[in-house]
Symmetry: C2
Subunit: 458 residues, 2 copies
């Protein structure tokens, strides 16, 4: 009995001491990020000196260079690139959208932009009547006789009552992704999609679309600002003959060469066990890709930089991965997983930050239940820093392809309320990022990677 | 035994049903705030049409009018004002601050502003050498022989490693509040105080100061932007003869008449039990008082508006209180408590929102331990909305004077990371407030007031 008590007591003391050591290390991580962090300065460079960086663009090439040299500058153990080919879509000159025959208001400019991946109208533009729908079901019910020759206007808003704005996005984004092909099935000549945003605003939100249906025409697709979506809806209801003019100049060019960029701290005890942490280096072309996903890139570089600056020698190999082409192809994520498999690399975990640089709330987890439980057992270490949500499922788009290698996937989970104010718009700029919120993100990610490195995930 | 089981079961079912009913009502509250909320529109009016509203200013008078008519418009059961007198400090024409003899840089403009409550330098200004200190202890050690005739520069920054930024503020604000009087004890001619902000910025943060020491001279006090505080510190270290010129035109006028503004929904069962919810109507003069504390005002009006719009008939009396003069006198809070006592009113709880319009994280509680426990037992109802912090002590400045009447005090607790980016500066403007974050605040406050109204706090 005494022996059992002694063992139990020793275990308790052992755990308590470990807890205290971890608390101290995690405090040092946050202190380092908040006092001497470099994530904000890095993000300033990536957004202001590099700027927009759509796959295949000169900006994307500059972002590859920047991140490579940044990680070299920090003297990570190795820095290298993974060549790959990316889709190459270009917007061309600025789009024109107009209501041309409103009885009330005559001609009226509309704030629109081509959706990424869409064909253009060409310089002659398209003039047609508008038919509004809220869903693919409604479109199907209307059928060819009502839709043929018209521009289909998809106008189902994101649901503002969902507290998690990503859930609201998930409930509306089918219109952007597949609306054009659905409309083309019934003979539509173009698709106009309500922007994926919760506010009433003046700027359109771009984003990826795909031609999903075989054998139907590739028709142009544009996003319209939420304010003008409301206006168009009102005017179209009052006036069945309302016509709009669309002129877009986007083109799909041949695939272009690009790179993932990777920096690594080599593990001292189990170098073959890899923990990857990444964001995507590409962004849409309208803003500066500050929250999406400059934040995730600098978060990830900062994880390694903080560890190095603290003199922490990881047992396992820690990699910062700048994935290319998340926005319109996922080629970077696919290439990374392909090479990991080919090279027989053993990733024990992959973390992604692609929900913006806002105040950390927790992490999403996807993978083995036992490993999830182990990670959740560390939750109390994060609560003093405001992170308490470890319950949601999820990882990230770029790390997703690693799932079939059995890798534990982890998503950095910041506050979601402002994300869709900026997402894929001209307003996703450096000034929208709070220095402290960004730094807290880097620190939170570093703290979790530290725990995974120290204890492993067995 | 069977009877006991039956009773226990009934209790459980009863509780489960109540929980479900509360979950449904709280969901309706959030839905209302997020779909048909009016807090953001109200805040637009208060910041853009009324604007800055320092006690005694025309802006403050306009804010009284605005809030009175707004609550009348919503047809609350009664709307009235409480007359009171407020301190009347005016800034006068814009301040001038200059380094005049830097060996390196010659003359150099400094971003400064007078602190609220400070006397001015007069048009002749003040020229003197600068002596930097980090604390009152350091100042005392330097003593009269080092300080006399000089301008004392208080330059202890807010501690960026504190996760709760209000704790960092609390650790630095003594310099602003009492620095001038402390410096005057040793013969200083003016005080320059590093702005209470965590970022390196160009704009100074004003805020209240008081002449705390008896019998010492009232010397002028100004805030300097954090960037220029760093610059001044560097140049003063390099050059012991560095002099600065300060010219401020602020004046303390006679007390001016003003008002608290109150709207009320009368309780149907226990009308004598009052639940107050408020923010402060006055703001500093440099910005628009958007987060401080326009947000708290519209949060509070919105609580009553949502209840009314939902057709909810409160059992107890619910009051929205627009307190006047929190920033430089607290006269509104003192008057409200004085009248409550005089009129033998029975407040069962008072809630204040004065930490900005950011994403809700929880509530602070101050009062009887049993009542705190009761409120904390409702925590799980708030977790789906992201509120999980019910552990901190605290209420709010304006409701503070109610404490000695034994009133339970509750502080609305939003995310604190961005608050001191805007606090008391020209940048505390409407565009810094996120519509959704503001709406979530109104909803969270309404939900807690609903529970207190329904169950009481016995």
């Amino acid at each position: 009995m005494k022996k059992i008590l002694f063992v139990l007591l020793s275990l308790c003391i052992g755990q308590a001491l470990a807890q205290t050591a971890d608390e101290i290390t995690i405090k040092s991580i946050y202190d380092m990020a908040l006092k001497n962090g470099q994530s904000y300065e890095m993000l300033g460079q990536l957004t202001k000196e590099v700027g927009a960086r759509l796959s295949g663009s000169p900006g994307a090439a500059a972002a590859v260079e920047w991140s490579y040299h940044e990680m070299k500058k920090f003297e990570f153990d190795s820095v290298w690139v993974q060549p790959l080919m990316v889709p190459h879509w270009v917007r061309g000159t600025k789009e024109i959208g107009k209501i041309i025959n409103s009885k009330k208001m005559g001609t009226l400019e509309l704030n629109i932009c081509a959706l990424g991946g869409s064909v253009g109208t060409g310089p002659q533009g398209i003039i047609a009547k508008v038919i509004e729908v809220k869903s693919f079901e409604e479109l199907a019910q209307l059928g060819t006789k009502n839709v043929e020759g018209k521009i289909v206007f998809f106008n189902r808003p994101m649901d503002p009552t969902k507290i998690n704005t990503f859930a609201a996005y998930g409930g509306a984004v089918d219109q952007r992704g597949g609306g054009a092909s659905e409309a083309a099935k019934y003979g539509a000549v173009a698709a106009v999609v309500r922007s994926m945003g919760l506010n009433l605003e003046d700027y359109p939100h771009t984003g990826g679309m795909r031609y999903t249906a075989n054998g139907v025409k590739l028709i142009p697709a544009v996003a319209i600002s939420t304010k003008h979506a409301d206006l168009l809806s009102r005017l179209a209801k009052e006036d069945k003959d309302l016509q709009i003019y669309l002129e877009t100049h986007s083109e799909i060019l041949e695939d272009a060469p690009s790179f993932n960029v990777i920096g690594e701290l080599r593990g001292s005890e189990f170098p073959e066990e890899i923990i990857a942490v990444g964001g995507h280096l590409d962004s849409w072309d309208l803003g500066e890709g500050a929250h999406d996903d400059g934040a995730g890139c600098v978060h990830s570089i900062e994880v390694l930089r903080i560890m190095k600056a603290m003199g922490y020698k990881p047992k396992r190999t820690i990699r910062a991965v700048m994935f290319m082409n998340e926005e319109n192809g996922l080629r970077g994520g696919l290439k990374y997983a392909e090479l990991a498999e080919k090279n027989k690399e053993k990733h024990i975990a992959a973390m992604e930050s692609d929900r913006g640089g806002f105040t950390p709330r927790g992490f999403t987890l996807s993978g083995d239940e036992k490993i999830k439980s182990k990670i959740r057992s560390w939750k109390s270490l994060f609560e003093p820093y405001g992170l308490s949500d470890f319950s949601q499922e999820g990882g990230g788009a770029d790390i997703g392809p690693l799932a079939k290698q059995g890798v534990m996937l982890i998503g950095f989970l910041p506050d979601s309320q402002r994300y869709f104010d900026y997402h894929h718009t001209a307003t996703d700029t450096f000034d929208k990022v709070s220095k402290r919120e960004l730094e807290l993100g880097s620190a939170s990610m570093t703290a979790l990677i530290y725990l995974i490195d120290k204890y492993g995930l067995k």
